[in-house]
């Protein structure tokens, strides 16, 4: 397997990352923009995600619908995602068809129409998307916990936006957001797969070099610390109680992120960084599973740690056993946390977590779409070397720095306790 990486920056500010992989006649092409809910102001929440939707509504050259059909016709797949720090678009295509992807992504970086009628039709589609999420008790709980966990940072808002803002955002708001953030200086093009780097670089340079770039300084926010313990309660239909505990996590480019990753792995099981393919590993030997599920205090437990630009949240989500109360479960969670705060774990446990990470890495490497995702994703909060060194960094974690990290982010920090109580519950 070739592991050659090319990284270049054009004079207009566009960053290009290329990775040749010649195992399948496939290329995965990604365009990343530094815009997401982190860049949104009150009254305009959800605007980044809506702009992403409008990017599928056509340009003068590729009217709406033509794009989907063109990609599908060639046997490709494509999609887009909006998250806290970024918005990304990808196409994975048979290698000999990739020119189409290069052309359409560069076209819609500049020429999307944002037709008023399409904006109105998409408003109801996105409202429907949000209504689908609202059907889920855990979405409601997550939203409440996130709101409570930040006082002013836009990470407090759901990426999809508030229902109120989805009703009031207008076409011109969307277009202005698009024009500001969609430009070469604010973008990363990442391509992985079956190509020659020099030829791919020539092609991309030919497409983008003459386009103007406008540097957008990322907004900076004063530290939004979580100093105390807060409680939020949500109630709704059903019979099942959920408990969510959220701590402030280190940002992705903070060296503490690696010991914290091991901490999460020991506590709730390994988290996979694979977005496409590879799957995960079960967490039945993790400390919280043994303490909660094996003793019938919980039905399931999961942890979530994400690499983000600013410090986001580390969340533990627990489905409470029907015969238990959330307070009893919380007490047991605290006992486990306390043990990790009092004494260092063994080196063997850290080695085990590293091996798990190495296996997950191997699984994810099989899939070229996933490789393309990794290339660009890491650029959104650090740079690609973060990814290359990821497993290595985990193996360097020591019991002492894990302990220090646990004390800083868990022991001496505030948190949000969220409880979803079913109306029909006992």
């Amino acid at each position: 397997m070739t592991d050659q990486i090319t990284k270049t920056r054009l004079s207009n500010g566009l960053t290009i990352l290329l990775k040749e992989i010649h195992t399948s006649p496939i290329i995965s092409h990604w365009v990343w923009y530094r815009v997401g809910s982190r860049y949104e102001v009150p009254g305009k929440t959800g605007i980044s995600h809506w702009v992403e939707h409008m990017q599928f509504k056509g340009t003068p050259r590729y009217p709406a619908g033509i794009l989907d059909q063109a990609i599908s016709r060639d046997g490709g797949m494509w999609n887009a995602f909006t998250h806290l720090d970024w918005t990304t678009f990808f196409e994975t295509m048979p290698a000999d068809k990739i020119d189409l992807a290069l052309d359409l992504e560069s076209d819609r970086m500049f020429n999307s129409r944002f037709d008023s009628e399409e904006v109105d039709s998409e408003r109801t589609v996105i409202i429907s998307e949000r209504e689908g999420s609202e059907n889920e008790p855990l979405f409601k709980l997550d939203e409440a916990v996130q709101q409570s966990a930040f006082s002013h940072h836009p990470y407090r808002n759901e990426v999809i936006g508030s229902m109120q803002d989805l009703h009031t955002i207008q076409r011109d708001d969307l277009y202005a957001h698009y024009r500001r953030y969609y430009n070469p200086a604010n973008a990363v093009v990442a391509v992985a797969g079956d190509f020659e780097s020099s030829r791919m670089l020539d092609a991309l340079t030919g497409i983008y070099a003459s386009k103007p770039g406008q540097v957008v300084e990322p907004p900076s926010y004063p530290q939004d610390l979580l100093k105390e313990e807060k409680r939020v309660e949500v109630s709704g239909e059903g019979e099942t109680t959920f408990l969510e505990i959220a701590y402030r996590a280190p940002a992705g480019n903070n060296p503490d992120f690696f010991p914290f990753t091991i901490f999460d792995s020991l506590l709730t099981g390994p988290t996979s960084l694979n977005m496409f393919g590879g799957g995960g590993i079960s967490n039945k030997t993790s400390r919280l599973y043994r303490k909660l599920v094996e003793t019938e205090y919980a039905i399931s437990v999961n942890g979530s740690l994400q690499a983000t630009f600013d410090p986001f949240l580390y969340t533990i989500t627990i489905t409470v056993h029907p015969k238990r109360k959330p307070e009893e479960v919380l007490t047991r969670v605290d006992e486990v946390l306390q043990s990790l705060l009092e004494s260092p774990v063994s080196t063997a446990e850290i080695e085990r977590a590293s091996k798990q990470a190495r296996a997950l890495f191997a699984y994810g490497s099989e899939n070229i779409t996933n490789q393309g995702f990794w290339l660009g994703y890491s650029e959104m909060f650090a740079e690609y070397s973060w990814f290359l060194n990821y497993v290595d960094q985990l193996t360097r974690v020591t019991p002492d720095n894990l302990l220090k990290c646990a004390q800083e982010y868990i022991g001496n920090a505030g948190r949000v306790i969220g409880i979803y109580t079913p109306k029909g519950g006992k």
Binding site: S24, M77, A95, I126, S282, V293, E294, L360, N367
Partner: protein, 432 residues
Amino acid sequence: MSSPNNHHSIPGPEDIFRQVLPNGITLLTRSNFNSASVVISGYVASGSVYDPLEKLGLAHFSALGLTRGTQNADFQTIFDRLESVGASLGFGASVHNTSFGGRSLAEDLPLLLSTLADCLMNPTFPVEQMERLRAQLLTGLAIRAQDTADMAALEFDAQLFPNHAYGRPEDGFTHTISAITQPDLVAFHRKYYRPEQMILVIVGAVQPAKAADLVARYLGGWLGNCEVLKPALPAIHPPKDSIRKHIRIPGKSQADIIMGTLGPKRKAPEYLPALLGNSILGQFGMMGRIGESVREKAGLAYYASTSLNAWPESGSWEVSAGVNPKNVERAIDLVKEELHRFVTELVTEAELEDNKSNFIGRLPLMLESNSGVANSLLNLERFDLGLDYLQRYPQRIRAISREEILAAARKYIDPEKLVVISAGPGKKGKAG
């Protein structure tokens, strides 16, 4: 811009190694040394089709119980071995089979296969673990009862396949899961878990001979009794009239709709024309014609698409959509209009060519990963399609005509006789 190199070819008779062990297990292996890992996938023929009505969910319960303890290892030991090396292994029951899937780094394949064998051959279903698992299954059912898409699907299956295993949920109901005892699990395992109809697929960084040795070592000693089980299943008939039901789930913001009818079984001659037609109807591009109508033009839904599910005895042809409760009837009408068009007019030449091109062009994407190859090989064996099926596939797709698609659509879809189920807020029997 392509630079062909050491690509995988499309799997075929020259690189899929197939062998049948003396105890009846069929093993298929394909090597891929571009990856550092291996995937296993397969099934034994112990599905929910054997569930007694009053104990629906028995096959599912027993499948999940396999890893909870064996004669050689308890639950924590089994998962400590797997998780310590970053391996995974899981089981689950469908109507006909209990399937399994797992993966590990190549060096840990012996561990993965020995664990698979131990769980299949020697489970003990420890009482304490089974009670724990029961509580987990019941919570799963309580969550299902609040899920609009799940509840619509449950009712859709029940209406489309009355009195048939295809119409019953593999995960059972609260009262049937509560009725299952530990001896039921032991007896179900003893009777229905056997090597004769087992298929095992191994794909990844392993030589076929090495894989075969390992399988013989760990699973070769599993003795069956040479009896091939064949469940007695009633005949399946299309709906005689339209059926319209609404499942009331209060407190929800969105309603889910599932509507449709029977589809071809997997080995029916019209399966591939129907599959291509289904793509035109509700898959291609942004969810085909139905996505265009319900999402893109009317703006009614975040998702609206179709699926064709083909099993050994029959199949279903389904449209699903999530919409605001007040738009349920409008969305159903739009879907019906598209179905009407689909059974009265030939698809266009352009639609046919686009979709053929998509089916053929996406093969490399379907087959790039070990799990993609493993799933494909499992299907080849399950439906007796032949080891050269994937290589012949483009030619078969190219041969499909517009007339065959229309004939397949007409054979199965009668827009006046559909099962139409919605689930969400609103009064029982009436959405919105």
